[in-house]
């Protein structure tokens, strides 16, 4: 390659280094798009806030509120951000809800195609997590991300799974997870509970019971309702066990405002 020649493209169909107009990142919704063409920084429009995930004895559960925010406006108050992928997996998404719908279409088609194979196999939660990581990382590498942070929860082959993938393709697993604001407010509460369980003299499971986990998630959602300005008091919960997926909701949180009288 001669000196001064433009570098070859990263890969087929990808952006050429230095040739991509990087967007200024997320702008205010309604400010209108100015940039055009593929491979530019997009801004999320209608967004969902935290998703919480927690393993318990016998399975995993996810929780998320049901609001789609348009900036600071709680515009759509009946949106479901939890998706049942198949009988062993659920997915919860925060971030841009149009991108979540796109992901949902992709996943639903994948599950249908797999059913049609008729070989008795279905995607495991771990496989879906891996696939999602590749998809999201691929999109980020083309500077055209799907603006979502996603939790995948499921039970497969007797083992429970809880994983996280974000719009950069960062992926990890843990017994408790939270996206968005939840990472700051809920995760410490979830971890404290898990550590308490680990310290107690219990069976090797070291996980809360289903009821304890359910209560804990609700408590976390309440804290988030108090402290996250983009949250809402209506929520859904998805519980996955060996028996399958149960979707609860929409339910309403009761908030305690007693301290108002102390001020």
């Amino acid at each position: 390659m001669e000196v001064g020649a433009a570098p070859p493209p990263f890969w087929a169909g990808g952006p050429a280094p230095g040739q991509t107009k990087l967007g200024s990142g997320p702008g205010k919704p309604g400010s209108g798009p100015v940039r055009g063409g593929s491979g530019c920084g997009r801004s999320p429009m209608v967004t969902g806030t935290s998703v919480l995930g927690l393993k318990f004895r016998g399975g995993v559960m996810l929780a998320a509120d049901t609001v789609g925010s348009y900036g600071s406006l709680a515009r759509f108050r009946g949106v479901s951000r939890l998706l049942k992928v198949n009988d062993s997996t659920v997915l919860g998404a925060s971030g841009d809800l149009a991108d979540f719908q796109h992901l949902r279409q992709l996943l639903e088609q994948m599950v249908i195609d797999e059913e049609l194979l008729g070989d008795g196999h279905s995607y495991s939660p771990r496989a879906l997590h891996s696939w999602l990581t590749r998809v999201l990382y691929s999109r980020r590498s083309k500077i055209n991300p799907l603006w979502n942070t996603v939790l995948i929860a499921g039970v497969y082959g007797g083992h429970s799974f809880l994983g996280y993938v974000d719009m950069l393709g960062v992926a990890y697993e843990a017994p408790s997870l939270a996206t968005g604001f939840g990472a700051y407010l809920a995760q410490p509460l979830l971890r404290a509970a898990l550590e308490r369980d680990r310290d107690r003299d219990r069976d090797q499971d070291q996980l809360p019971t289903r009821e304890e986990a359910r209560e804990l998630l609700e408590r976390c959602l309440r804290v988030l309702y108090y402290r996250d300005a983009r949250s809402f008091n209506r929520y859904e919960v998805a519980v996955v066990t060996e028996k399958g997926v149960e979707l609860e909701g929409p339910l309403t949180l009761e908030a305690n405002w007693d301290i108002a009288h102390a001020v």
Partner: protein, 180 residues
């Protein structure tokens, strides 16, 4: 800021019993609506029956999501089909698709969310709906500098579409809204 057209018709038919309400860039929404109207016409000939409102909404969503970077379009799709009767779908900026009992969009909508939340009842009659919509629009038109002019209503039923215009003294509180 100059008002290019003070009597714009933002209610655009995309099929016999399916309309869209356009907000955002007029050029963008007209272009997308034209494309969807074409696709629906083709689709309904193939189907040999009136297209579903949901299909029309999905077509809007496909364009609005794919070209989300280039478009400034907030669209509400509403109509009647034999399968599910009257339906309202919203495709806001970004290209999300959602079905709702009622929907609002555009800059003026910010000012009436409170009114809508307090006043909407499910199961309203046709005339109650028309009054609800007219009052909501009138309130938005008073407060939003980017809104105004006339109110255009289109009532879509199995029998057909009935279009009305409320102008000047026809508006719920007359020209100028509720007393200051």
């Amino acid at each position: 800021a100059y008002i290019a057209n003070r009597v714009t018709d933002k209610l655009t038919p995309v099929h016999d019993r399916i309309f869209c309400c356009r907000s955002g860039s007029a050029a963008d929404t007209q272009a997308v609506a034209d494309a969807v109207a074409y696709q629906l016409a083709f689709h309904s000939v193939e189907l040999e029956e009136p297209p579903r409102v949901r299909t029309a909404a999905r077509l809007f969503q496909q364009s609005c999501y794919r070209y989300r970077e280039e478009l400034s379009a907030g669209i509400i799709v509403a109509g009647w089909d034999p399968r599910r009767g009257g339906q309202v779908y919203v495709v806001p900026m970004g290209g999300l698709l959602l079905r709702q009992p009622f929907a609002v969009g555009g800059s003026g909508s910010s000012y009436i969310y409170g009114f809508l939340d307090a006043t909407f009842q499910p199961g309203m009659s046709r005339s109650q709906c028309q009054e609800f919509v007219a009052r909501a629009l009138a309130l938005a038109m008073v407060r939003d500098g980017s809104s105004g002019g006339v109110i255009r209503l289109a009532a879509i039923t199995e029998e057909g579409v009935e279009r009305t215009v409320l102008a000047g003294s026809d508006l719920p509180w007359g020209d100028g809204g509720p007393p200051a």
